[in-house]
Structures are given as structure tokens and as C-alpha cells.
């Protein structure tokens, strides 16, 4: 955890220093303590800082959400970006913003609500004499495909001229990072994470199987419902500002598990991993090529896809996939 915090600080420092407007470390430091030029003040205060904080908040939301799903459903593939949660949240998001012009807290709450409705629907679709995580993954892939179709349709009917703005909803991007958008998202994220924190111990007990957990005094169904709802809400909050960023949720929990080297899913550690992962991806997206910058989602996708393939191969080999 300490190592991850240091990594996070290093990444954030890098992100503060890098950019088209070249500022010296001295100028950046001066601006941070309130003594920079107005130009530097704008670049740091309105462009770089909100973007860094958005990456941290969104990454943490996705990391925690992924870890919550994976440990509750006991399947590494059952993360919100694979089972269609982020995809359906982005449909609600694109409709709310492009069609209805929502913003701020209203936007966050509407996207959370929409994602919860979508998650309930998918749960019912995948239910057949019990729940199998694998069926949920299959239903989710279908839902994700439908959702991306809906997003494209909405975008093609709208008068969005800027391809970058549209790409937010197709691949996910941090280009929209502003204080105005960040504040409601952060407030929602903190509230939900406190809820997740309260449920951490019973959730870790659920990993032992429903019967063992019930024997240990965990109210199984109630705990699962509360924690999944929190996971859906966290993913929705992240999507409402940054779009359906791929694979951050999928990878964070797995990376955290390997970092910890125990069976403990380490929900908090997954949050740190998610934040670091997204911040690093965003740096790559912005600065890997000198001439163009990608939407962040392209980078998380490029890194995440091989990871997904590796997980699939591994789970079918060990037979844990069914």
C-alpha cells in the first residue's frame, strides 16, 4: 500500500510536469503554492490538476468496483466492463448529456440509477435456477454490444461536431476533466466507498462460499445485494465523467491480488492500483506520440486486451471458468 501511494505520487508529479505548455519544475511548484504566472495558474489549476484528480478518482472507482464484482461473483471475468455495466452506464450517460443536457449531481445520480436498473435487468436475464457468473458474462457481452450500438446511434443523431467529445462515450477519455464535473463525482465516489468499506469483512467472508459464510454469521443475500449495488454505482459514477474506459476494472483486482500474494482480494489495494493504472494510461495516451494524443480508453484497451486473453486462456485451462 505504501509502495502504491509512492507510485501514485510519482505519476501525479510526472503528470503535473508534462504537457504542451512546458513549465519548469520551479514554475509548477510556484503555481501550486499560489505564486505562479496567470498562464501557469490556468494550465496547472484548470487543465492538469483536475485531469490528474479525475484519473485518480475514476481509476479508484473502477478498481474498487472490479474487485468487488470479482470477489463477490468469484470469477475473474465478472468485472463491470466485461459484464456490460459500464456499457449500459455509458448509454445512460450519453443520453443524459447529449440528449437531455444534464450535468453535476443530477447527471451522477441519473447514471447511477440507470446502471442499477440495467444491472437488475441483466441479473434477471442471466438467472436460471440460480446465478452463474459465466452466464452473466455472456449476457453482459451481448448487452455491451447492444449498448455500443445505441451510443453510436445517439452520437450520429446529435450535433456533436468534435470527434474527441464523441470518443468519450465510445472508448472513454479524460479530456472532459473539469472541477465542475469532478466535484459531484468525487462526493458520490467517497460516499459509496465508505459503504464498501463497511461491507469489506463480510464480503471477504463470502469468498469462502455461501454456506460457510452463512455459518459464520454473514447475512449472505443482503450482503451480496448491497455490495453489488455499490459496485454498480461506483462503475456508473466513473463512467458519468470518463466514459466506458476498458479493462481498468478488470485488471486492478487481479493485479492487487498478485501484489498481495494472498487470497484476499484487497478491495482498498485494488482502488490504489486502479488509480495508478489509469493515471499511467492517461500519461501514455497524452504523451506517447509527440504529435497526437489518444483518448485514454484506447490505451487502457490496448494494454487490457492481451490481459483479458491471458485470463480467458488461463481460466479455461484451470477449469475455473464455468
Amino acid at each position: 500500500m505504501a509502495g502504491l501511494s509512492i507510485l501514485l505520487v510519482l505519476l501525479a508529479t510526472g503528470a503535473l510536469l508534462l504537457g504542451k505548455a512546458s513549465l519548469s519544475p520551479g514554475e509548477v511548484l510556484g503555481t501550486l503554492i499560489g505564486q505562479g504566472t496567470p498562464m501557469a495558474g490556468f494550465v496547472i489549476g484548470e487543465l492538469r490538476l483536475p485531469r490528474i484528480l479525475t484519473a485518480v478518482v475514476v481509476g479508484a472507482c473502477l478498481g474498487v468496483s472490479g474487485s468487488v464484482f470479482q470477489s463477490t461473483l468469484r470469477n475473474a471475468l465478472a468485472s463491470p466492463d466485461i459484464i456490460g455495466i459500464t456499457a449500459s452506464a455509458s448509454v445512460v450517460g450519453v443520453l443524459s448529456i447529449v440528449t437531455f443536457g444534464l450535468s453535476g449531481f443530477t447527471l451522477s445520480l441519473v447514471v447511477i440509477g440507470g446502471a442499477l436498473v440495467a444491472a437488475t435487468t441483466m441479473y434477471l436475464l442471466a438467472w436460471r435456477n440460480g446465478m452463474s457468473a459465466y452466464r452473466l458474462v455472456l449476457v453482459g457481452i451481448g448487452v455491451a454490444a447492444i449498448c455500443s450500438g445505441v451510443v453510436s446511434y445517439v452520437l450520429s443523431r446529435s450535433d456533436i461536431q468534435d470527434a474527441q467529445a464523441a470518443l468519450v462515450w465510445v472508448t472513454g477519455s479524460l479530456n472532459n476533466s473539469t472541477w465542475k464535473a469532478l466535484v459531484p463525482v468525487t462526493v458520490c465516489a467517497v460516499v459509496i466507498m465508505v459503504l464498501v468499506g463497511i461491507f469489506t469483512r463480510p464480503v471477504h467472508t463470502l469468498e469462502l462460499g455461501d454456506d460457510t459464510a452463512a455459518g459464520l454469521g454473514v447475512p449472505v443475500e443482503r450482503t451480496r445485494l448491497a455490495i453489488i449495488a455499490s459496485g454498480v454505482a461506483l462503475a456508473a459514477v466513473a463512467v458519468s465523467i470518463a466514459g466506458p474506459l476498458a479493462f481498468v476494472a478488470l485488471a486492478s483486482g487481479q493485479v492487487a491480488r498478485r501484489l498481495l500474494g494472498t487470497g484476499n482480494a484487497g478491495i482498498a489495494v485494488s482502488g490504489f492500483v486502479g488509480a495508478a493504472l489509469l493515471l499511467a494510461s492517461d500519461l501514455i495516451a497524452q504523451f506517447a506520440l509527440p504529435t497526437t494524443s489518444f483518448p485514454t480508453g484506447v490505451v487502457t484497451g490496448l494494454v487490457g486486451a492481451p490481459f483479458l486473453i491471458w485470463l480467458l486462456v488461463r481460466s479455461s485451462r484451470t477449469g475455473t471458468g464455468s
Binding site: R74, R201, T205, D211, A214, G215, L216, G263
Partner: protein
Amino acid sequence: MTTHLPPAAAIAHSLEAKDLALGYPDRRIIDGLSVNIPSGRITAIVGPNACGKSTLLRGLSRLLAPSGGDVLLDGRSIHSIPTRDVATVISLLPQTPQAPDGISVADLVGRGRYPHQGWFRKWTTADDLIVDEAMVATGVRELAGRSIDELSGGQRQRAWIAMALAQRTNILLLDEPTTYLDITHQIDVLDLLVDVNTDAGTTVVMVLHDLNLACRYADHLIVMRDGAIVAEGAPAGVVTPELVRAVFDLDCLVLPDAVSGTPTVVPIGRHHRPAGTAQPEA
């Protein structure tokens, strides 16, 4: 193997089922069953496949809500007691417990402390001591740092029993604790349960497949068929060729176990005849 566990709880708790019905409204597995679990003894529930013995155990452990009747813990309906409070009195080892990938033995055993910790009550040195004692009692302390999936079946089962012991309950329920184990480890696990019973006065209730091991290790047998109790009592008084035929549809001889003197069921089968008889007693 000796245990160093002091008595888990000074008070013995009572567990009974009254007119218990379990299952679905259209398909009752158990209907109108009443039974009293003897405190401080070892009870084995036996019977053919699908006789409802695991269902009864799940009912007794409050995992199944009854569709009729009730399970009483110390005279109170078990479903009226907060589930975490029940977990300080009754521990349960399911038939196929699952462990998360890579969890260590010590971590798994530590999970048994769950019901004793609240939102604010954190892990203490007392918890460490209890976990350590549970691992010593089950002989898995040398394996504390090992991952569960590296262990043999017998070691794994002992680690799970250690988790149940760390729960420090007066009543221990186990669903087929010897399944998938070879004969050596079956005996090992059953000996361990006797240790727990004699050292801590723990009431042990287990579903067992093997009738002969049940006769040897249990003080009290509950024999079931078709969701009902056919007979119960001390094995020597209960197990007869007539009972085995009535419950298992099996012709057999019942002889004294050469080691323990408890009844042993020797099946006859279609291709063999007991020495000195022309016909199986049909």
C-alpha cells in the same frame, strides 16, 4: 494428537428440531421431523443417498428456513436469533467448502473469528492465540504459511476444521467431513473430532456415509430414510440386520467390530452367502 483447547464455552447449548419441515412447498424433503441433539456427545446422521440427511443438517444450522415447524437453540427459534450470535454457538463445515485462490492456512483459520468481531472490535492478540490453538489442535500449524491449494486432501480438511474450531463454538456441525479422503485421513479426521469432543465438551453432529465408521465414532446415531427418522440411539442398540434392510434395502450381517466392539455391517450381496447358511436371511 492431543489438543490444547480449553473449553470453548462453559455452558452447554441445546439444539432440537420440532415438527420441522424443509424443502419447497411442492416438494417437501423433510416433513414433521422432531429430534433432540444430545449435548456434549457425538451424533452421526446416516441413511441412503437423498434421504434428507444433509438437508436436516442444513436446517439445524439455520441455512435453510423451515417451511413448517422450527429449530430451537436453547429453546428459542434459531431464526429469531441474530445470525452472528448463532455463529458464536454453532459452527458449520459444509460438504465442499471453497477457498479463494492462494489463501494461506493461517488466513483461512483466521476467518473463523468473523462472528466474534464487530464493526469496531478489531483483531486482537486473543484472536491470534485462538487461531494458533486451533491450528495446533488440528496439526496444521507447520502449514500456517502454505497456500490451501498446495495441501493434500486430508491436510485441507484439517485446515477447514481448524477454521471451525477458531470459531470457538459449543456445537460443531459437519456435512460429510470424510468424503474424498482416503481411509487413513478419514480415521485421522474422525479421531480429531473425538479429541475436540472430549477436550472441549463440544457437541459434534456429522453426516456420514460410512455406516461402520459412524457406529464406531458416534455416541448417538440418527438413521434416516425418505426425510424421516427411522431409528435413533446408541449404535449398539440401533444397528441390526432388520434396520439395515429397512433403511438401505441391503441384506447384511451385523458383527461386533474387532477393535471397538461397536456394530459392524457386513453386506451380503447377490454373489456371496454367509458361511454356514444356504440362503441369505430374506
